[in-house]
Symmetry: C2
Subunit: 233 residues, 2 copies
Amino acid sequence: MQAMNLPSVDEANLAGGRIQRSSSLVEDVYEAIFAQLMSLKIAPGSRITVDSLVKEFNVSHTPIREALGRLEGEGLVLKTHLIGYRAAPQITKRRFDELYELRLLLEPHGAAKAAALMDEAKLAQLQESAGVMARREGKDERLRYSNFARQDAIFHDKVMEFANNELVRETLAHQHTHFHIFRLMFHSRVTEEALDEHEAILAAFAAADPAAAEQAMRRHIEHSRDRLLLAFD
Amino acid sequence: MQAMNLPSVDEANLAGGRIQRSSSLVEDVYEAIFAQLMSLKIAPGSRITVDSLVKEFNVSHTPIREALGRLEGEGLVLKTHLIGYRAAPQITKRRFDELYELRLLLEPHGAAKAAALMDEAKLAQLQESAGVMARREGKDERLRYSNFARQDAIFHDKVMEFANNELVRETLAHQHTHFHIFRLMFHSRVTEEALDEHEAILAAFAAADPAAAEQAMRRHIEHSRDRLLLAFD
DNA sequence: CTCTATAAAATCGTATAGGATATAGGATTG
DNA sequence: CAATCCTATATCCTATACGATTTTATAGAG
């Protein structure tokens, strides 16, 4: 095990372009742990000891505990007194159902609102993030799925951005972190269907047709649910 | 300023009735800060220095920082590097509108589901938590409002509990913490209307009529929104 | 094999020190 | 008088060492 590279301050400032307050160690550690959770380098349910992170990151206990506290507040890690931290467990079937019920309540409605407010510029952004172009990219199944998952997340987030309700958008984004981990665990097969469904949604957006957008989004989410439901067999 | 009393371990165990792992200091500190935020003892937007909490609670930096990290993850406090923590700012008009849009998307639907699954026992619980009984309790305006707010929160949470979607329930509960603070800031007037509306919802539940429950809940939330909207003048 | 007792390891919290930065107030300069 | 600079203090941020408590692993007894 070797010390990892936390992104440097200068790097972060240069990348962003604008001047921003240097990030604290807590922030860097938070990002690092978050990335490990999202990439499954830390598996769901597995233990996370402060000491091992001390060695890995070469920082003291203090910022690590603070970062872990934040992750706990976000529900990504759990803590048991005198036992320690562990990654949140894998999603259950019940939870999965609840998540899709939530999505169906929020996203079709958001799609309708976005369609009503659609314009050229927004449509272009959506088309770009729909991932339709990237369809044939890469042959590595694993990598292809990872790309698809990211594209899909961006697309849905963009729709909600244009739906003009930041709170709902944040709510879904928050749930997405859990959903993302689940998806990576069961990345059985990427169907092309999802991209077709994205195109259907885009068509409704292009026509600025709220009812059609709502319907297309609902179908897409229902199909997505049914595709992933196989993971519970 | 005097050292405060954190709830003791034994106290917590006795209160809960069941045996539970002794709570850590982090947990106690978290609860204490949370309570101060919810009671406005720490005002929205005001600074929260670690050192002052060290003196107030008589504990070291470590558990305080971890607890503050957790509160940050929950969005109740914000942190700026080298500046420190501060309580989340008061809700904006925009955010208020978004919150009610979210509630209208989730709660009427939840009420319909709850009505479809209604039975005697649940109905009794709802009637108790509707707060209709407590209508005439207390003359102190301030106290009365505080009681009403708590009752209202419990009632809505119970409905969502019976709606059988824990994820949605948690989502609303999470938002409620922010909402609660807002409400306390502008506790202008408690109208009896809200309690009447609760009764209308209860009637729909008693009839196990999903459509009526959904409708009654929608009207209640819309009215609640309109009543609180006055705070933005 | 099961249960218990001891030992080792880990967690939790405290105390403390030092470096870096922000903020306020006063001094200096134009 | 105004603007700028400078200094002092407060606060944040991190590292480190230590002790107390509890868990966990190990080994021995029945």
